[in-house]
Symmetry: C2
Subunit: 648 residues, 2 copies
C-alpha cells in the first residue's frame, strides 16, 4: 500500500491535490529534481513520503506542483503532529494509528475522517520538517547554504527559489460554507464547526470571539440607548451605567475563557501537546552549537539582540509616540480654527465644518497606524528573534503601545486636560465611526472589489465561460495563486481591541458607543467572512487553544477603563454638585469607589473558574487515565524485572 | 534478591528500620496478621513488598512495628514516585531503574544513593497506596468498611486501629545536621541541602524562604535606622523610603521565584511530575461512581458542600470578624482609659501604663488567632472536601482573612479614622514586638522545655545512663513516639506573612519595623531549627516545587501596602504643607503617584522572568529531549508498520 510515487506518476486516479508549491521561474532542473525527490522519498531515507505532481498549464510549464498524500500517510502524519480527535465513547484522545479503530467515524475507507484543513496542516508540517542530511547547499545554488537539520523548505523560501506554498480551496465545500455562513439572511450563530473544519482553529476562534464579543456588547448597547433617547444626564444613572460596564467587562472576559475552553476542547486543540519550536525562517546568525538541542545551527548573541532592542527599537518607538502626539496637537489647532470659523459664520456649512477636523484626524490616525505597523514589522524582524513566539510578542507589544496612544491620546487630552465633555463626546463618536468605516473598506470591500475585477480579467483572458465549480484544477490554481495572502488574525484582533477601548474607556460619557460597536461587528462578521472566502488564498490551519496575548490585552484595557471612568464620573457637574463644601471629599470618594471596583474585578477574575466544571472533569479523567497507563507500564516492567532477577 | 520477608524475620542483619507503625493497644491478632501480610506480600499479589519487624519492648509488646525495605525495592519505589535525580552529566532526570547507571553516585553497593528522607517518603507512598482488593471490611472490625481500591492505611487511621505512622530519626545524621545548622556560632547560610536531605523539600524551602526574606529585609532595615536615630521627619525622605520599600517588595517577591526555581531544580522537585490526587483521609460520603476515575468510591454532592460553605462557614467567619472588631473597640476604650489615667497622674508608672492596653491587645489577638485556627480547621474539615488541595485552599483563605483583619484592623482604624500617627507608631511597635515574643515562646521554647522535661523523666524511668547516640532502637522509638507531631509549614508561613504586613503596610510611619523583623527572623531561624530537630517527631519529606499560595498572599499584601503607604504619606503634615491652597491637588497627586507605583509594580512583575535563563535553558533541553525520544518512538513504530504492510 505504502509505495512511494515518483513525481511523474501523474495518472493515478485517486490523487487528491491538497497543497500547491510554486517555484521561481527559471529554477534549475537539478534543484527541482532534488527537491521533488526529497518530497516523495521514503521516511526511512529522510524524505517526506508525500505525493507530488507537476501542474501542466495550457500556456507552458510554470514550475507549479501539486502535493498530496495517501490516506495511510495522512493518518500516520496525524499521529506525528499529535492531532486530538473524538473517540467512540465521546472522549477526546490523541490520535494514534494503532488505536485508530476506537475513534468516532473512523473506517479504513472513510477518507473524510481527517478534515481537508487537517490534511493540509499535516502536509505543511511534513514539508517544513524535511531537513537537510549531508547537503552543504541547495543543489544548483551554491550561495544557498545548508547544514544538517536545517529545514529545506525554509531555506528555499528565504533564498527565493520557492515562491510560495499554499493549500488549495475545495470549491464544493467552500460553496456550502459560504451559503451557511453568510449566503442567506438569517438570525443565528455562525457555523463555527464548519469554519474550523475549513479554515482551522485559529480563524474559527477569531470568529467565535467576534461573535461572542458582539453578543456580550448587546446588554451595554441596550442599556445605552435610553441615555441617548431621553438625554439622561443624572449622575446616578451614569454611575449605574459605568459600574455595570466595568463589572460586565470583567465578566465577559472571564466567561470568554470558559467558552474558549469548551470550543477548543471539542476541537481537540485544548489537549494538543505543544510542538518543540524551531527557529523562524528569517532568523540568521553564525554557525554555532545550540545549547538546548546540541545541534549545529546558526546562533545569534542575545546581547546583540538586546542592544538592537534598547538602542534602536525603543528610541524609534518613542520617536513615533512623540510624532503621534505632535500630530494630535495639530488636530487641536485645526479644531480651534473650525470653532472660530463656526463662531464667525454661524451657518449650516460651518456647523458641518466642526466635524471635519475629527474626520481628518481619524483618517490620519488610521494611516499612521498602518505605516507604523510596517515599521514595527521591519524593526522586529531586524531584531532577529530566534523563535516565532518571541518575534510575535515583541511585535504585538510595539504595535499595541503605539496604537493605544495614537488612538486614545487625543481623547485623554480632551477629557483630562481640556475638561471638555461635549468635545470628548463628539470626538469619540467621529473617531469611532470613521475608523470603523475606513477599516471595513480597507480590509474587505476594497480587496474584494480588486479581486473581483482581477478574476473577471483572468476569466476573459482564459476565454472560459465556466462557472466556479467546474473549473479545471489548472485554472483554479492559476486563479488562487494570484490572490492575496491572509496575514493572520493580528489585524482583526487589533481592530476589536481598539473598538473595546472606544467602548469602555469613556463609556460613561458616550453610552451610544456600544450600539455602534454592535452594528459594526455584525457587518464585520460578514465582511470578514467574505474576505476569508473570496479575497484571500486559503490559509493553512493553525491549531490553537486560546486567543493568547489578546486575553491579557483586553483585560489590561478593562483595568484602565475603571480608572478613566471613575475620574470622568468624579468630574461630572452632577457629582460635583453633591459635594458642595469639600472637593476633597469628592476626590476621596471617587478614589475609594475606584479601588473597590478594582478589588471586585480581581476577586471576580479569581473566583470564576477558567474552565467549566465538565471540561475540568474531562481533563482530570484524561490525566488520570494517562497516569494509570504509566503506572501499568511501570508495574509491568517491574514484574518483568523481578521475574528476571528471581529466575536467573 | 527480591525475596519477601515474613514479619517474623527479625534476625536479618542489614534490616534498616525507616518508618514506625504504631497500632492501637488490643488490636485483634487477625487484623495484625492481615495487615502485616499485605505489607510484606509481593507486588504481584497486591502487596507493598516491604520489610516489617515487630519491636520487642522490655515492658511487654506494645504493637509497634518497624518498616524497612531492601535496597532494590527502594530503587523501584523511587521510579514509582517519580523521583528526579542528578545524572553523571549534571542534568536532572527522572530516575528509572533501567537507566540507573547514568545517575551520579549510583553504584549497586552505594546505599546512600537515596537519602533517608527519600526512602521514608517512598515507604510512606507505598503504604498509602496499599489498596483493598476484595476485602469488604478490615478483618476483625466489621464496622470498618472497605471497597476495592480504598487505601487500607487511610481506613485504618480513620477507624483508630492505626495510631500513627512516622519516620525514624537518624541520630548520627541529626547530630551532624544540628551542628552545622545551629550548633556553632557563625555567620553564613543555612545548610539548605543538608536540611533538604534530612527533612525533605517542603521544610527546606521554608527555611530557604525564611533566610532569603531575612536577607531581603536587611536593606529596608539599614535604610530605616537613620530615620529613628536622627528622628528624620522630612516628607521627601519619607517618600523616598516608602517608594523604595514598595518597589523593593515587588523585586524581592519576583527574585524569590527565581531563587526558588534554582533550589527546586537542584533538588529535582521542579521537574517532578504531579501525582494524581487521591481523596483525603477524612473525606466521607455515600458509595457511588467517581466520574473521573470510574471507580466505585464515596462521593459527596458538591451542592451540599456549597451549602455548608455559604450557609454555615461564611456566616461564621463574618461573625468572627465582627467579634474581632468588637474586641478592637474595647481595646480603644482601654487605650482612652490609660490616656486619661496618665493625664491625671503624670508619673513614671502611668507612662508605662500607656503601653499596657497594646500589650494586652496583642496577647488577645494571638489567643484569638489560635482559637480561630482550630475553629477554621474544624469547619473546613466539616465542609468535607474531597481533595487535600481543596481543603488547604479553603482553610488558608479562612485563616488569612481573619488573621489579616484581626492583626491590622486596629492599625487601619488608628491610621485612617483617628489620624493619630503617634498612637499608630506606638501601637504598631507594641503589636509587632509582643507578637514576635509570644510566637517564639509558644512555638519553640515552650515545647522544647516540655520535651526536655519529659525526656529527662523517661530516661530516669528507664534507669539508663546512656547518651543519645547509643540508645537502642527500642528506646529511641519509645522516646520519639511520644514527641509532638509537626503540623506542616502553615503556621510558620502565616507568621512571616503577618510580619511582612507589619513591616510593609505602615512602613513609612515606622521604618524601624524592618529592624525588628530582621532581628526576629535571625532568632526565628534558630528556634525553628531547634523545634524541628529537638521538639517534634521527624516529619515525612514532601516534595514541592514552590511555596504555593503564599507567593500570591505575599504579592497581595505588597499591593495593599502601596495603597496604605500612599495614603499615609498624603496625610503627613509635611506633604500637607506643600499644597497650602488646594487639598484637592494633594489628593490628586497622591492618587496619581499610587497608580504610577502600582503600574510599575505590575510591569516589573511581568518583565522579570520567573526562572533564571540557565534554568529555562535546562528545562527547554529536557523538553526537547523528551520530544525527540517520543518522535524516535513514533518513527520506529511507523517504520515497523510500513515494513509489515509492505511485506505481508
Amino acid at each position: 500500500v505504502v509505495e512511494s510515487w515518483s513525481f511523474l506518476d501523474t495518472v493515478e486516479s485517486n490523487f487528491r491535490p491538497l497543497v500547491v508549491i510554486e517555484l521561481a521561474k527559471g529554477t534549475k532542473e537539478e534543484t527541482i529534481e532534488w527537491f521533488t525527490k526529497r518530497i516523495v522519498d521514503k521516511k526511512a531515507n529522510g524524505g517526506a513520503q508525500l505525493l507530488i505532481k507537476p501542474l501542466v498549464m495550457e500556456n507552458g510549464a510554470e514550475n507549479i506542483y501539486l502535493v498530496g498524500a495517501s490516506h495511510l500517510r495522512l493518518l500516520l502524519g496525524a499521529e506525528t503532529v499529535g492531532l486530538v480527535k473524538e473517540c467512540s465513547d465521546n472522549s477526546m484522545r490523541t490520535f494514534t494509528y494503532s488505536s485508530r479503530k476506537t475513534f468516532k467515524d473512523f473506517a479504513d475507507d472513510n477518507h473524510n475522517f481527517l478534515t481537508m484543513a487537517e490534511c493540509q496542516y499535516i502536509i505543511k508540517h511534513e514539508l517544513e520538517n524535511l531537513r537537510a542530511k549531508t547537503e552543504k547547499m541547495i543543489p544548483g545554488y551554491p550561495q544557498a547554504k545548508l547544514y544538517p537539520g536545517k529545514s529545506i523548505v525554509r531555506r528555499l523560501l528565504t533564498s527565493g527559489i520557492l515562491v510560495q506554498i499554499f493549500p488549495l480551496h475545495d470549491r464544493e465545500e467552500l460553496k456550502k460554507l459560504r451559503h451557511s455562513w453568510y449566503g442567506r439572511v438569517k438570525v443565528g450563530y455562525q457555523p463555527l464547526d464548519d469554519i474550523r473544519c475549513y479554515f482551522g482553529e485559529t480563524i474559527a476562534l477569531y470568529f467565535g470571539f467576534l461573535e461572542y464579543f458582539t453578543f456580550a456588547l448587546i446588554p451595554m448597547a441596550v442599556i445605552g440607548i435610553p441615555y441617548y433617547v431621553f438625554a439622561w444626564e443624572d449622575y446616578d444613572k451614569y454611575v449605574m451605567f459605568a459600574t455595570f460596564n466595568l463589572l460586565w467587562s470583567t465578566v465577559i472576559l472571564e466567561v470568554w475563557k470558559r467558552i474558549c475552553a469548551i470550543l477548543t476542547y471539542c476541537w481537540g486543540t485544548l489537549l494538543m501537546k505543544r510542538q518543540f519550536e524551531e527557529p523562524r525562517p528569517g532568523f540568521h546568525g553564525v554557525l554555532g552549537v545550540n545549547p538546548v538541542t546540541g545541534r549545529e545551527e546558526p546562533v545569534y548573541s542575545s546581547l546583540k539582540r538586546q542592544l538592537r532592542i534598547y538602542l534602536v527599537s525603543l528610541p524609534f518607538v518613542c520617536l513615533c509616540l512623540y510624532f503621534s502626539l505632535y500630530v494630535m496637537m495639530i488636530y487641536f489647532d485645526l479644531e480651534q480654527w473650525a470653532l472660530d470659523y463656526h463662531k464667525e459664520n454661524e451657518s449650516n456649512f460651518s456647523s458641518l465644518m466642526l466635524y471635519v477636523p475629527s474626520i481628518i484626524y481619524a483618517v490620519v490616525i488610521e494611516i499612521m497606524n498602518r505605516i507604523y505597523r510596517y515599521a514595527a514589522e521591519f524593526l522586529t524582524s531586524w531584531e532577529n528573534h530566534r523563535l516565532e513566539s518571541s518575534y510575535q510578542n515583541h511585535l504585538i507589544l510595539k504595535v499595541l503601545v503605539f496604537n493605544f496612544l495614537n488612538c486614545f491620546a487625543s481623547l485623554f487630552y480632551i477629557a483630562f486636560v481640556l475638561f471638555d465633555m461635549k468635545l470628548l463626546r463628539q470626538s469619540l463618536a467621529t473617531l469611532l465611526i470613521t475608523s470603523q468605516i475606513l477599516n471595513q473598506f480597507a480590509e474587505s470591500l476594497l480587496p474584494y472589489w480588486l479581486q473581483k475585477r482581477y478574476n473577471r480579467r483572468m476569466k476573459k483572458r482564459m476565454c472560459s465561460q465556466k462557472t466556479d465549480t467546474d473549473m479545471s484544477i489548472a485554472e483554479q490554481v492559476n486563479m488562487e495563486k494570484e490572490m492575496g495572502t491572509y496575514l493572520g488574525t493580528f489585524d482583526d484582533y487589533l481592530e476589536l481591541f481598539l473598538q473595546f477601548g472606544y467602548v469602555s474607556l469613556f463609556s460613561c460619557v458616550y453610552p451610544l458607543a456600544a450600539v455602534f460597536a454592535v452594528l459594526n461587528n455584525i457587518t464585520e462578521i460578514y465582511s470578514d467572512a467574505l474576505k476569508m472566502c473570496r479575497v484571500y488564498k486559503r490559509p493553512f490551519a493553525e491549531p490553537t487553544a486560546n486567543i493568547g496575548v489578546w486575553q491579557l490585552a483586553f483585560e489590561t484595557m478593562s483595568v484602565i477603563s475603571v480608572v478613566t471612568n471613575c475620574i470622568l464620573i468624579g468630574m461630572s457637574p452632577q457629582v460635583d454638585a453633591l459635594f458642595p463644601d469639600s472637593k476633597m471629599d469628592l476626590v476621596l470618594t471617587v478614589a475609594l469607589v475606584e479601588h473597590l471596583i478594582l478589588a471586585i474585578k480581581f476577586i471576580m477574575a479569581f473566583v470564576i473558574p477558567d474552565k467549566p466544571r465538565d471540561i475540568q472533569m474531562k481533563l482530570a479523567k484524561l490525566e488520570f487515565e494517562s497516569l494509570e497507563a504509566l503506572k501499568q507500564q511501570v508495574r509491568a516492567f517491574q514484574m518483568q524485572l523481578h521475574f528476571l532477577l528471581i529466575h536467573h
